[in-house]
Symmetry: C2
Subunit: 187 residues, 2 copies
DNA sequence: TTTTTTGTGTGATAAATATCACAAGTACAA
DNA sequence: TTGTACTTGTGATATTTATCACACAAAAAA
């Protein structure tokens, strides 16, 4: 499990064994079962998570009770309610396991210590944050330029594995269409 | 004009005069007229821009010829085609002045030198990138949870000044609705 | 100034999508 | 095993939004 984290980081920066030990010491491990919550709306957000295996959904529940999926977090993803985590405010979203999931947990304090103690890691997180930002911008663009059918096809092309792992209902709520419309599109 | 940049950076990290001189040396200044392009689709993206005054639009032109506004860049914003800038690929979007605009320009090379020479700045850019990511996620959320009217009201509330500065047609293309629909919403 | 482009509102209509309702299939727990 | 909850497809209908067309106003260019 440690190796997964190390390999992931070493895609961007190279590390000595000592550096990795230093990094490793800032994380804890958590093994969660399907349906378990890592973050609950309204509670404080203790950690940023690195997904080693499994699958989670980051969801926003609106006033009328419907769910909106901001993001699916799969292997090799960093996920949390970033706003709440960085500003130390209460979560506005929830992070819940869709499968049994193993994660590394990084507290804000350890995140800051890690960046301060090893500037390379600040560089690493900057790269990650940039990719995240670019990814979100692409998703915005897909809302601006594409209808439901096109967004569905783009998702299918980009993350084909998702279609085996999550229900159509969840895909619909990620794409921003009703499950009935999605059902009619895919047939 | 320099002071604007310094004040902006000092909102996040504090600087000595020498540090600021070091930073300043990595930027060039550009004054552009309304309608001028800082980035053109298809060309290479030389800089990341910090907007001192004025207003720009970051637009994506689709195959059918319609424009989609990914972002408005106002005073104190950092803007570029981030994907093209960071990966040194051709621009897929254009950045064009909606008003006469003054910017500081930072090349990728200088961006890297700046981060390497002054780790504080890597920290600064990480904070900026995180806010950008969070902002994009909020925008995604508005597409997921809100209809055109609600998105319009949210934008009006968040950036009231935009409504004096840009045409309804451009607002429509930022919100992802046709100008006719927007016109009917706002009356 | 005159001309041309750009912006805006609004009607009529078409297309996309949501909502409600129901039936049947599948997974999972008691 | 039975039952309960979750999932999926599909019909009927309502709502939202896009598209096309036009008139006119405002702004920029000649």
């Amino acid at each position: 499990m440690q190796e997964k984290l190390r390999e992931h980081i070493e895609k961007i920066i190279s590390l000595t064994d000592e550096e990795f030990s230093f990094i490793r010491a800032h994380f804890t491990i958590k093994n969660s079962k399907k349906r378990e919550f890592l973050i609950r709306k309204g509670e404080s957000v203790k950690h940023c998570y690195f997904v080693v295996s499994g699958l989670l959904k980051l969801v926003y529940d609106d006033e009328s009770g419907s769910q909106h999926i901001v993001s699916f977090a799969m292997e090799d993803w960093w996920e949390t309610d970033f706003l709440a985590f960085h500003t130390q405010t209460k979560a506005t979203m929830s992070l819940q396991c869709l499968e049994d999931t193993d994660v590394f947990c990084l507290s804000l304090e350890n995140y800051q210590k890690l960046c301060a103690g090893l500037p390379k890691m600040e560089h690493f997180f900057l790269k990650k944050s940039n990719s995240g930002h670019i990814g979100s911008q692409q998703r915005i663009l897909s809302f601006l330029t594409s209808n439901a059918k096109e967004r569905y096809d783009q998702l299918l092309k980009r993350y084909p594995s998702l279609f085996q792992r999550v229900s159509k209902t969840l895909l619909a709520s990620y794409l921003g269409v009703s499950r009935e419309t999605l059902s009619r599109l895919s047939s």
